[in-house]
Amino acid sequence: MEDIWNRYRASDFFDELITEKGGARVAARQAVNMLRKLSGAELAARQEASEVAIRDMGISFTVYTEGGNIDRAWPFDIIPRIIPAKEWSRVSDGLVQRTRALNCFIDDIYNKQRILADGVVPAEIVLESPNFKEQCMGMSPRHGVWAHICGTDLVRNGDGKFYVLEDNLRVPSGVSYMVENREITKRALPELFENHSILPVDDYPSQLYSTLASLSPRERRRPTIVVLTPGIYNSAYFEHAFLAQGMGAELVEGTDLFVGDDECVYMRTVDGPARVDVIYRRIDEDFMDPEAFREDSVLGIPGLMRSWKAGKVAIANAPGAGVADDKVVYAYVLDMIRYYLREKPIVNSVPTYLCMREADREYVLANLKNLVVKPANESGGYGIMVGPHSDAATHKKFAKLIEENPRNYIAQPTLSLSTAPTFIENGVEPRHLDLRPFILQGKDSWVTPGGLTRVALVKGSLVVNSSQGGGSKDTWIVEGKR
């Protein structure tokens, strides 16, 4: 039998499972040895089994196209990505540290603005950002926490170290797929789980429940929590339903809720109005309350901001939390950790050039072909230019965009994203990937063991977004030999 792993070459980048010499990394050894016993055809059968499981479980996401919305099956690669528990524990500490600092920052910005007064972060980049919400000034949510659910994008660079690429503090999604990916692997490759000690991921909904419950304005044994969705046509509706079900919470749309004369939020039930304590909102804050934000919003609940500011309801993530979710502000997160926590940052950020700073801008314009340029306020991988993969015309176009609106652009060195063996056409080939762990913060903090690994299925591509041809992998945090 031909060993399809013999041809696998991982020498150009840091590979998650295979060393430069071609052997399996320690934490991955057992799994790789087992996988090597499967032929290409057998592996293909397992891949197919995983796709059947995805269909049966109804795991889908929605793609918006010009021709209408399509519900697509979730793209999944069966070979898991494996990280040693010892390494993860340090990363996890770093993520908690980072999220704490970010929350200190948001709370500071909407109150005393010490960090601006002390000149650590330039005031104009914060106060002139569209993510800064005047309406939130003077607010101090429970535990001083604004970003309760944070989805942080990590990448592993050529040096083998993890770097934070992005902090998603608004409505990060993907966590349901993390849980489902494990379930799929259990169905498609059950024998992999023998003799392994892999940290479970399926208690995320209970952890989320505890975090949200700790925000309740009323002391109750079981506070009433709802998940607020924009509705069935949202690309993450599957996840909204998944989380509501996992927490035993109601999945509501704006029209299910109203604010009463007592400024409390109620949901309309067949037994009459029922007071809501905590709203886990999965709609953009601009659409949350037509009284406070966009008047034309039909998704929102009039008066919701009043209720929140009166302390009658908790909202996660808090409105305004997005002020720290900005690629320009990102450049200052390590300074925030030193400033608020007086600690040394555990996990690094990627070096970032701010086009608004003259020296940085000159450097960026002179080195466009080596850099990745990103708009400061887009998500989902849209509007990005990867210098080495773009032609001269694109470089020119971005030079113009940057000169016209420098505040809106940042640049970073092109990273050598790590790879992992991925099943491609009956063989195994390296593909680039990233990792999105989720950090919960309420009364306590908690980090998912691992997270959602996204993989660029196109050879050489660095774009992992599922809306743009990315797939995903189950992510294992593996305890060492006992």
Partner: protein
């Protein structure tokens, strides 16, 4: 258990659409049988089904001639017309899609399969050859979904609103079938009297009441006994009386049920006073007309009380 008004409304409509689709399939199936038994020229026109479903306008928008092909095209294959089976299935599916979390795990999968089955087969079943097989399997798939709900859904609010929708739709459909079907037979005034028993029995078939009637009343099918049976038989689960009693039971545990209970009481009183042998053709029609009006008021009362409550 909390139940959002919007979720209750979707469950109620899901059940109504499913019942409507199944009842329509039974109706078409019964008529399909009948047509093969009676000499041509003496059968009721195909448009009788369009009348039963109160779909004359929808029919007129699409077709001119009320022949077999056109009527079946409308009822079996026209996804855009609210009287069609595919329309009901699509509407039921949309409602299940957004209430998955309160239904048994397999409900969505079964609903989805029913939708795919209908989409793939309805068009092909307009012709006589595949029609019977399609309708039989369709009814059986509806029954599977109902069985799942019956055997695995907790008897809480979710079940209650499903039951309300199902029973209300069934009572409505039963009276429609009797109104138009019996009307058609009686309007013949003795012409083709030889085939009358065939027509009465096909009416029982359309209501899935044939074997129950035989065991309860006997093998001879006669108008008054039949109408009485379909309206008043307390033990037969598709009789109007049974449906109304079921609705009353489900309303019992709901809050703010005063107005709706009064509405159902009015219906029950009317029904108790009904005796088939004492009414003429015209009186039967007037009775059913009034009954359907009352059922409509009942629906509006349910809607206003639990689905659109005042803030």
């Amino acid at each position: 258990m909390t139940m959002l008004s919007s979720v209750a409304e979707r469950l109620y409509w899901m059940a109504r659409y499913l019942e409507r689709a199944e009842d329509t399939a039974r109706l078409v199936s019964a008529y399909n049988h009948l047509i093969m038994d009676i000499p041509s020229g003496s059968e009721p026109g195909w448009d009788i089904m369009v009348k039963i479903l109160d779909a004359q306008e929808q029919f007129a928008q699409r077709f001119r001639v009320a022949n077999e092909q056109n009527v079946l095209k409308l009822l079996l294959a026209d996804e855009e017309s609210p009287c069609s089976i595919p329309y009901s299935v699509k509407a039921a599916r949309e409602n299940v899609r957004t209430t998955r979390d309160v239904l048994p795990e397999d409900a969505w999968e079964l609903m989805n399969e029913l939708h795919i089955f209908t989409r793939d087969n309805a068009e092909k079943s307009v012709g006589r050859r595949n029609r019977h097989a399609f309708l039989a399997e369709f009814v059986s798939r509806c029954q599977t979904l109902n069985g799942l709900i019956q055997t695995t859904l907790s008897r809480d609010h979710a079940y209650r609103f499903i039951k309300l929708g199902q029973l209300l739709e069934r009572a409505d459909m039963t009276t429609r079938v009797v109104d138009v079907g019996a009307g058609d037979i009686l309007d013949r005034e003795g012409n083709f009297a030889a085939i009358d028993p065939l027509l009465w029995s096909s009416l029982l078939h359309a209501l899935s009441a044939m074997s129950a009637y035989r065991r309860q009343v006997g093998p001879l099918i006669e108008k008054n006994a039949m109408v009485d049976f379909v309206f008043m038989e307390p033990a037969f689960p598709r009789s109007v009386r049974f449906c109304i009693r079921g609705i009353r039971e489900e309303l019992g545990p709901l809050k703010n049920n005063g107005a709706t209970l009064r509405s159902i009481e009015r219906i029950r009183r009317r029904l108790r006073r009904f005796h088939a042998e004492q009414v003429s053709r015209a009186e039967l029609h007037a009775f059913i007309d009034e009954f359907q009006h009352q059922v409509n008021l009942l629906h509006r009362s349910i809607d206003a009380t639990w689905f659109q409550p005042e803030a």
